[in-house]
Symmetry: C2
Subunit: 82 residues, 2 copies
């Protein structure tokens, strides 16, 4: 079985208030030297009956059509053997 | 500068209704052979003034203390050069 691991992040130019809140929380806990904190989504899809190439292609299609918003988000896909 | 990429997922035994909803949405779009869809969080923290070992240690501490809920979530940390 193959596993598509998809990391979806906001584009660099898009404000990320959730990330900023977590950055401030970490700083209030005493962590220093935090330059930036960005929050995104992590999606794991287990796929059967495909090879790596078709799994990659299909996962990209799923991102473009449903999982990510290409206007404000970037995504990265990794196909792994499960 | 170093970048800690943190993937937080629900433990396998914990129900993931959001993942199930996305699985059903993908199936209704015609995708077949989806065994499982799980949704998690993806956090990128940019750290300055550390080496890889201390960055890894600190990121693990941040996960345990704030970012993840160790009762229901697992996490994986990767330290990368930015």
């Amino acid at each position: 079985m193959l596993k598509a691991e998809i990391c979806i992040t906001l584009k660099k130019t898009v404000a990320d208030p959730q990330g900023l809140t977590i950055k401030q929380a970490l700083e209030s806990m005493g962590y220093q030297g935090l330059e930036k904190v960005r929050i995104g989504k992590f999606i794991i899809i287990e796929l059967s009956g495909r090879n790596k190439v078709s799994a990659q292609k299909e996962a990209e299609e799923m991102c473009a059509k449903l999982l990510a918003n290409p206007i404000i988000e970037d995504y990265r896909i990794e196909i792994k053997e499960d």
